[in-house]
Assembly symmetry: C2
Homo-oligomer: 299 residues x 2
Amino acid sequence: MKNQKTVLKEYLDEKKRIVDSALEEYLPKQTGFSYEIAESMRYTLFAGGKRLRPVLCMASAETVGGNADIVLPVACAIEMIHTYSLIHDDLPSMDNDDYRRGKPSNHKIFGEGVAVLAGDALLTEAFCLLSGGIRDLSPEKNLSIIHEISTAAGFQGMISGQVADLRAEGKKVNMESVDYIHTHKTQALITSSIRAGAIAAGAGEDDMRALSEYGRNAGLAFQIADDMLDIESSREVLGKDTGSDEGRKKATYPSLIGLEESREKTRILVENALSAINRFDERAEPLRMIATFIAERKS
Amino acid sequence: MKNQKTVLKEYLDEKKRIVDSALEEYLPKQTGFSYEIAESMRYTLFAGGKRLRPVLCMASAETVGGNADIVLPVACAIEMIHTYSLIHDDLPSMDNDDYRRGKPSNHKIFGEGVAVLAGDALLTEAFCLLSGGIRDLSPEKNLSIIHEISTAAGFQGMISGQVADLRAEGKKVNMESVDYIHTHKTQALITSSIRAGAIAAGAGEDDMRALSEYGRNAGLAFQIADDMLDIESSREVLGKDTGSDEGRKKATYPSLIGLEESREKTRILVENALSAINRFDERAEPLRMIATFIAERKS
């Protein structure tokens, strides 16, 4: 019998393949005056992301008995929004990151002006895709999904988190700020991905509540695991104790409460995420596996 | 009897007042962590814009027998998108403008990072507003309006125009590039404002075609008039012949074909705009007056 990790890996690979090929269809190469902007959008969109948010969106739809294919455009729109946020976060006026996933960041290749516009374009394209008619989805649900996602991505969600992160850099931050940043910058869009998938699949109120609870816990666990990885991987690679976040004094759990306590916090969050979706049958297995292995992942 | 100019001024003032007060309601002051981003969004949103796009959206709805109040959220969302594009256009990595409408531009007040995010937030908020449920508008029409606007604002519309503009700066440009820039950067969203108003009011295909034709002609006339003003006003104020666009070698009609020919081109465009909406009754008067006085405006 395959072990759970292999099952999850196959599930993630399969979903990633579906998402990548749909994104390729939604954002094909361009010619003429829109050649450069499309290249810039595609550069970061196809830079090797794990497609976590789209996978969660599809897994959530499946959990409540829906079809993952129906939510594919929704899943892809969310990935476009996530990608836009990465491009803008890397800008010199923000985190000033020259590299993203081992490749030069967007503005290092296309220049700052085009990088800003590529982010703008991905954000806009997401809403273009979401409003272009989604097969088997009622206009009411479709609108409700657009509202769900735009609220999470907006100035009271993801963007507020990025502003708080920007302002926290280099300062001594407390747990309140760190929680605010994580809740808004990461958790909001992750939870929204899960909720959007569930809305598309016609989930009832109780199911929505359970999935939102899962999303909040798994989303935060994911962020803390990411920050721990950042420290651990640079410790391994560089043979010293300073991760890039720590070096730049980013507001993270491990920098505030240490690796040990962060690991414990992640464990509890994963437990909460799992118990939140107790009510679902075996169709929730992908969500369960994703939460379980969040804390263990190595990249 | 009042002359047409007075009638138009009263119409524009009245509509601007309605739009401003609706925008104030949609984007109220914030406290806590979202205070700064909201202040930055509001700074440029309330910097004294003419609200041309919202007015055109409402006037277009009225032209086909609709109610301007119904399209108010649509009109406001379009103004948010227009404002986001101004904030990003002014950035050092784009046009590098320190001033906008006589006031320091957004990034001069809030810093580049927050200015990028304020633009992002206005763009996202527009879609949040558009998807939040619009009274007396069917979900089908609502979705179709979101698709209309996001297509015009996206990488094959407004953003392509800005990329082309960015790449044209400082270079010798031909009429093909200038036309491409204007068609995409300005005309697309203006035409879309008019179309969105008409969709909301339930316009038929022939009316939509007529209004789109009006929008394309009036939109280009508006842009050329703007570029002529830029040259003429700096000639008056500075006593010399160089406008800021010309100084930076921006791709414009007057810089390419001179003031005289530009004026003639504008006159023809206004004529075309007017004849496109011949089919409508007196409810199209605001659209007619706006087109007529575009070429004559002094600010």
